[in-house]
Symmetry: C2
Subunit: 199 residues, 2 copies
């Protein structure tokens, strides 16, 4: 990777971090430049479309990061129920580490953008769609029928994202822990049922 590419990547990952903490509008270009130790003069060389382009790239990074995070958890656990619980709890650890000041970048930005921010809308749509598909596939592989897999995917994803928001709002891991426990229990029950029908 050339030096220029390194700078580019450092800007993007710093931006992702700031988005998780403050969201879109509170994150300024000056702050991005400072915290990434990037040369300010070359910002518009690397990202000709300005702030929106930087943030869109940061959202893509957040999407990829989460996808690999989920994939890891699936490999590390025998059951879907355990994997989902582990994923949910990992966000609890993330929040505790950062004093309840971070949540998923797509979650923060999604609440701020309007119709005009075309680049961001696209990045958000693709990011969420990617996660949804990942979860649907996970449930399908675990023998859930297609419609059930889709519904479980939405419920699971919604609960994980929402629990992050609640945990951050209340500065407590309780919502994430309770959500993790419930998801493990309920997904486990459903799994048993589908296994019996199968076998």
């Amino acid at each position: 990777m050339t030096k220029a590419q390194e700078t580019r990547q450092r800007i993007i990952s710093t931006t992702m971090d700031l988005l998780m903490q403050q969201g879109y509008h509170a994150t300024g270009l000056n702050q991005i430049v400072q915290e990434s130790n990037a040369p300010k003069g070359s910002l518009y060389f690397h990202f000709p479309k300005g702030k929106e382009e930087i943030v869109a790239e940061a959202l893509n990074l957040a999407g990829e990061w989460t996808c690999s995070h989920v994939a890891e958890a699936l490999q590390a656990h025998d059951s879907v129920a355990d994997a989902v619980a582990a994923i949910t709890l990992s966000f609890a650890h993330l929040l505790e580490e950062d004093n309840y000041g971070k949540s998923c970048a797509l979650l923060t930005v999604a609440q701020e953008v309007g119709d005009d921010d075309v680049l961001l809308r696209k990045a958000l749509d693709e990011g969420f769609a990617g996660w949804y598909q990942l979860f649907v596939d996970m449930f399908v592989k675990a023998q859930f029928p297609q419609q059930a897999a889709e519904r479980w995917a939405d419920l699971t994803l919604s609960a994980i994202e929402g629990a992050q928001a609640l945990a951050r709002g209340q500065r407590s891991v309780r919502p994430l822990e309770n959500t993790a426990a419930m998801l493990r229990l309920l997904i486990g029950n459903a799994q048993q049922m589908y296994d019996m029908n199968q076998g």
Copy 2:
């Protein structure tokens, strides 16, 4: 209500609306003044602490609004399962009406504030805590044991908030509809179980 109080209330409810659309940092005082048809000169008479005070009041209003919304749904439906599904779907209608440009004010603001915004942190904490307690009580009244009620409350609340975020990000009511269907099914099953143990 005096004219001054009316102005005050109009500012607060306009702010709540803007928070739902854009969040905290994107909402400016000028915009609040314009859209509420309030006199700019009296902003700091009504709210001496400035923007943070206005937003804190708007968050309180959002909290109260949702509480009464939930209470209504509970009265209108026989079972907790149906009430929860109805509440979830009502957010789908809200989103469709406004072209997927609105979500819960506490949800949007919670993703943007840091440690310094003391007033906002307090308003968020109280708002979320109020909802949580409301849901816990609901499940307890429906014969759920205390710990189960707490866990179901967090899962339900998380799922509803998260589904709003996903729906907004993907501009689709699918996450809300799937989440509503799942919550109705799962809460219904749990209810049956606890009813049997009871009777």
